[in-house]
């Protein structure tokens, strides 16, 4: 993969793909729209494409080198969103969240509801109408209603159905050297995996898994790993960059990752302790290729690696994520250079994998 900046044409086509992927609606359990986009991209180059019982799309591309490593790369297709759970006499709709969304990210926002993308909004009571002495607080999910402009329950249910999913109605936008879009977590990972699939190194048998239901408990990737039985796996995801200025100017020591410092490698999160040999391999490749990377602060969160590494007899796995600000909100934000450097580092690390990368003896520290 070329180390130089991608040509304008290439950059435009990458961005066009990311736009299509992020503007698709694929709330956990309903990933079909994304799956169709992915299939269009990978099918022409794949030796095999299959969709399993959960909806994971698995595309296999065999390498041509004599000694190859069976590698599973996973990026999840699903996004956080809403499901309609009820309709009231006045036409308002009850919603429940799918995946982790803060209440303040729903208020005053517009949504695409159901397969037909019926427009809807979640409103808020003006402060003048709050009871005196009632302290303004963000209403809880149980107090919020989705408004599709219906006047009655029947009117509402002619446009949408209970059980329909809703996603933030956010078109992708370029902001400076950044991109802002909904569902960058993890459509950006999906876009990166598609690009890696199209430029797969000869040294690996690439088993690309476009997984489902990550946001509701890493449920898709585990069964794919069981089916594929890879020698190792990398989850390609997005991780929060909480690198904002603090209120009082004190040092921000809980940034998790920082935008612009390159892909984030995981040492551990709540779901996985990364395989030390894989982590050191990726770090060594980054240093020799002079590619930037950062270590994500250990702590919470989880990626597909969390379910993959527990499959079968245990599968060595790590996660490599693009830092994203404001994930699980109406609009996240990533830097173009972090995206590019993640593609380059993953490609270089995969190209230099050998069967020995995994047979090296574990040291006392991992």
């Amino acid at each position: 993969m070329a180390r130089t900046r991608p040509s304008r044409t290439a950059q435009r086509s990458h961005l066009a793909l990311l736009r299509a992927l992020t503007e698709a609606v694929g709330v956990s359990g309903d990933e079909g729209e994304v799956r169709r986009l992915v299939r269009e991209q990978v099918e022409p180059l794949a030796d095999e494409v299959l969709v399993d019982a959960l909806g994971n799309l698995i595309a296999v591309r065999m390498g041509t080198a004599r000694r190859r490593v069976r590698v599973m790369l996973s990026a999840h297709m699903d996004e956080v969103g809403l499901m309609l759970t009820g309709a009231e006499a006045e036409g308002y709709l009850h919603v429940a969240t799918v995946g982790g969304i803060a209440p303040h990210h729903l208020l005053g926002k517009a949504f695409w509801v159901g397969k037909d993308r019926v427009p809807g909004v979640i409103g808020m009571t003006p402060p003048h109408l709050s009871a005196p002495g009632d302290k303004r607080r963000t209403p809880g999910f149980d107090q919020m209603r989705l408004d599709v402009g219906a006047r009655t329950r029947d009117d509402a249910l002619e446009r949408v159905r209970i059980g329909d999913r809703a996603a933030f109605a956010t078109p992708l936008a370029r902001l400076g050297d950044a991109v802002s879009a909904k569902a960058l977590d993890d459509r950006l990972g999906v876009a990166i995996l598609i690009e890696l699939f199209q430029a797969a190194p000869a040294s690996i048998d690439l088993m690309a898994t476009f997984s489902v239901q990550e946001e509701v408990g890493l449920r898709g990737a585990g069964v794919a790993a069981h089916r594929l039985d890879p020698q190792m796996a990398i989850a390609i995801d997005c991780t929060p960059a909480r690198d904002l200025p603090t209120w009082d100017g004190s040092e921000n020591t809980a940034y998790n990752t920082r935008l612009g410092l390159g892909p984030a490698l995981y040492t551990a999160d709540r779901a996985t302790v990364s395989d030390r040999r894989l982590l050191e391999h990726v770090e060594a490749v980054a240093r020799s290729a002079r590619l930037p990377y950062q270590l994500r602060q250990p702590g919470g969160g989880g990626t597909d690696a969390g379910s993959i590494h527990r499959a079968r007899k245990g599968i060595p796995a790590i996660s490599v994520s693009v830092p994203v600000r404001y994930p699980h909100s109406p609009a996240g934000l990533i830097r173009l250079d972090d995206w590019r450097n993640t593609v380059l580092l993953l490609h270089a690390a995969l190209s230099r994998l050998t069967p020995e990368s995994l047979t090296r003896k574990r040291t006392a520290h991992g």
């Binding site: 109408l129 107090q143 408004d147």
Partner: protein, 352 residues
């Protein structure tokens, strides 16, 4: 009744106009009003007004129909590295701000994202889930130096959200308070330009309602009216809101009743709605109208005021909701009110 209300309203909603920077809306109104009026002028404060001469004998009294052009918004308060801190322009609510796309009106339009910083970056003492306006940041994706070359403290920030149609005849989006009122005024002008009216009619788009009513304080000195009708928005009923404080969407406009409304003007509005066969609800305003009427009434030597309000749900949020039929009905009442003003009408304003 086929008309161009939807495109007009969506266009007005699209234009930025925080208090004190209403030029874009004033220009749009001037373009819409000029072909239908005898003259269109601006005041030094920035308000725009169009005059349509009546057919009555001189000296003709005039009736003024007003709606404010500004909408609550934000301004740039400070730089924080590559981020912007914000301050309010009008009384901005904070509950809905996290995750809104915005436009910063700098040397060029700078798109940005209004964000609530992560918990560990926020002040420790919070009121429930609410954080102060000053704790929000705008992320423009630009570096500090690039940003400071494009943006200055005080630049306007508006919501980058288009109006959308929710089903048939219901529109959601920012600034319906009070682009809905301006749209009603414009529809009324279309009708009046085809009808005869004895009185002179002055349409006025006023500045700075959300921050102290500069437009209302000054407009009557530019074009003194005998009667002024204020067209604004009222609380459209939303989920779980008290019935006695709100007005159902699609139920027609409200007719303000209280010290800020002249009783004879209020009654004439009621009769005009009857003639136009439009539902009109009385809105009690025990002390103030909380609209430009409070200031118009006491401007100069005093004006006989009336209040006609369009119900808007989720007021002062970027997803205000209006029923287009309520705007059309408001225009119909305005038209009928003006047509009902004959040479003798001025004397009906005597308090007795």
């Amino acid at each position: 009744m086929p008309d161009d209300l939807l495109p007009l309203l969506l266009d007005l909603m699209r234009l930025p106009a925080i208090p004190g920077r209403e030029t874009a809306v004033a220009d749009r109104l001037q373009a819409a009003w000029a072909p239908l009026a005898d003259e269109v002028r601006r005041t030094p404060a920035g308000s725009v007004y169009a005059t349509c001469r009546g057919s009555g004998k001189k000296p003709r009294p005039s009736v003024m129909l007003t709606a404010h052009m500004d909408a609550i918004g934000l301004v740039v308060a400070d730089f924080e590295g590559g981020f912007l801190r914000i301050a309010s322009a009008g009384s901005t609510l904070t509950e809905h701000l996290a995750g809104q796309r915005v436009l910063v009106h700098g040397k060029r339009l700078v798109p940005g994202l209004l964000v609530r910083p992560p918990e560990h970056c926020l002040p420790p003492e919070k009121d429930g889930d609410s954080i102060p306006l000053g704790a929000f940041l705008v992320d423009t994706g630009l570096g500090a130096r690039q940003l400071q070359a494009l943006v200055r403290i005080g630049d306007a920030i508006t919501f980058d959200r288009m109006g959308i149609q929710l089903g048939d005849g219901v529109v959601a989006g920012p600034a319906l308070d009070n682009r809905a009122g301006l749209a009603a005024l414009t529809l009324a002008l279309h009708s009046l330009s085809r009808a005869s009216h004895a009185w002179d009619v002055v349409l006025a788009g006023l500045v700075q309602e959300e921050t102290g009513g500069l437009g209302a304080r000054t407009i009557t000195h530019a074009a003194p009216p005998a009667i002024a009708l204020v067209v604004d928005t009222t609380y459209g009923r939303g989920h779980g809101e008290a019935e006695h404080l709100t007005f159902p969407l699609g139920g027609g406009p409200s007719n303000g009743w209280g010290p800020a409304a002249h009783p004879a003007v209020h009654e004439r509005l009621r009769l005009a709605a009857e003639r136009a066969e439009v539902p009109l609800t009385l809105e009690p305003m025990p002390r103030y109208s909380e609209s430009d009427a409070d200031l118009l009434q006491v401007a100069g030597s005093g004006v006989a005021t009336g209040c006609l309000f369009v119900p808007v749900r989720n007021m002062h949020s970027p997803v205000e909701v209006v029923d287009l039929e309520d705007i059309r009905r408001t225009a119909a009442v305005l038209t009928e009110f003006v047509r009902g003003l004959d040479d003798a009408a001025a004397s009906s304003l005597d308090r007795g």
